[in-house]
């Protein structure tokens, strides 16, 4: 009985060994895969909109990653692949909007607001300073103040 058990155990062990294989690399081409990864972090998934292609599990994102992989395997550069997708989906597909006339407000608007804020603050401080100067005490008032203060002490 025991011998049979040993035999079975040994057999199982043997099967395990014969089925084991060396782990295959997940990707065939490391360079292409690095490019796909780099680009999918730069590109937007249009279905989920606030996710990059790299983050998204939407079907379209998978299709687009496949497309990018194929283009990358053909040896296209990052810029060429981005242009390819922009031609189809528009600038919105880029996670970082390009700088051009239609996006100038997007890029410079915050700085314009910052400058306006600084200018407003400056004007306000100047005005307050002038008010402080105007409300300086007259000689008579100053005498009264020091009298009152002396009385206290």
């Amino acid at each position: 009985m025991k011998r049979i058990l040993y035999l079975i155990a040994g057999f199982c062990f043997f099967i395990n060994i014969s089925w084991a294989q060396e782990a295959r690399p997940l990707q065939e081409d490391v360079v292409v895969e690095a490019q796909v990864q780099r680009l999918s972090e730069e590109l937007r998934c249009l279905v989920c909109q606030n996710q990059t292609l790299a983050d998204s599990h939407a079907e379209l994102a998978e299709d687009l990653r496949r497309e990018i992989r194929e283009l990358a395997a053909k040896g296209m550069s990052d810029q060429e692949i981005i242009d390819y997708l922009v031609a189809r989906y528009g600038d919105f597909v880029r996670y970082r909007p390009p700088l051009k006339s239609t996006t100038a407000l997007l890029w410079f608007g915050p700085f314009v607001l910052l400058l306006a804020g600084v200018a407003g603050l400056f004007v306000m401080l100047r005005r307050r300073e002038r008010q402080a100067e105007e409300s300086a005490l007259s000689a008579d008032e100053a005498r009264k103040v020091s009298e009152l203060l002396n009385k206290e002490s």
Binding site: L60, E67, V86, R88, Y89, G90
Partner: protein, 175 residues
């Protein structure tokens, strides 16, 4: 009184921007393809995979290119509108069955009615990428020279058809 004027103006401007922003649909991304030649495709027909249809076959006529799928909920919404349009004969509608299975697509057309002159199958979504498809249904109005004149993202409603698509089609047909 005067000191409230500036904050009030700023408030009104901000409200103006927010109001406009509320009425914009973030899903409506302007397509760079409008005004350009429709990307070429040559795909098998849904009803007969042996036969292929290309967008070149439609040169010389104004046509609608409707991207649909049996799995797409919003397509059901627009389907009756398309069926009515097909009955009126105002403009031929060609369909592209996007990332779908043949069986389910055919069943869906049998149940809902078939408004398409013909449908092609884009099983793996490659032609969809060429057309910048990201939300089914989408519809392209393509003119006699094969140029995309308009892209409708999302379902065609009766209003969109009446106010935008049909007037545009008439104008293009007169050209």
């Amino acid at each position: 009184m005067k000191r409230f004027l500036l904050p009030l103006v700023v408030f009104l401007i901000v409200m103006g921007f927010l109001g406009v922003g509320l009425n914009l649909d973030p899903r409506e991304v302007p397509s760079p393809l409008v005004g350009k030649a429709a990307p070429t495709f040559n795909l098998p027909r849904l009803d007969d995979p042996e036969k292929k249809i290309s967008n070149k076959d439609m040169l010389g006529q104004v046509w609608l290119f409707n991207v649909w799928a049996s799995w797409c909920g919003a397509c059901r919404e627009e389907h009756p509108v398309l069926v009515e349009l097909a009955k009126s004969g105002a403009v031929p509608v060609y369909g592209m069955d996007y990332k779908d299975t043949r069986l389910e697509a055919r069943q869906w057309l049998e149940i809902g009615g078939n408004p398409y002159v013909a449908s092609v199958m884009d099983a793996d979504g490659r032609v969809g990428i060429d057309y910048g498809v990201y939300g089914v249904p989408e519809t392209y109005v393509i003119d006699k020279a094969g140029i995309i004149a308009y892209k409708q993202i999302g379902p065609i409603t009766e209003e969109v058809l009446r106010d935008k698509i049909l007037p545009l089609v008439k104008r293009l047909q007169a050209q």
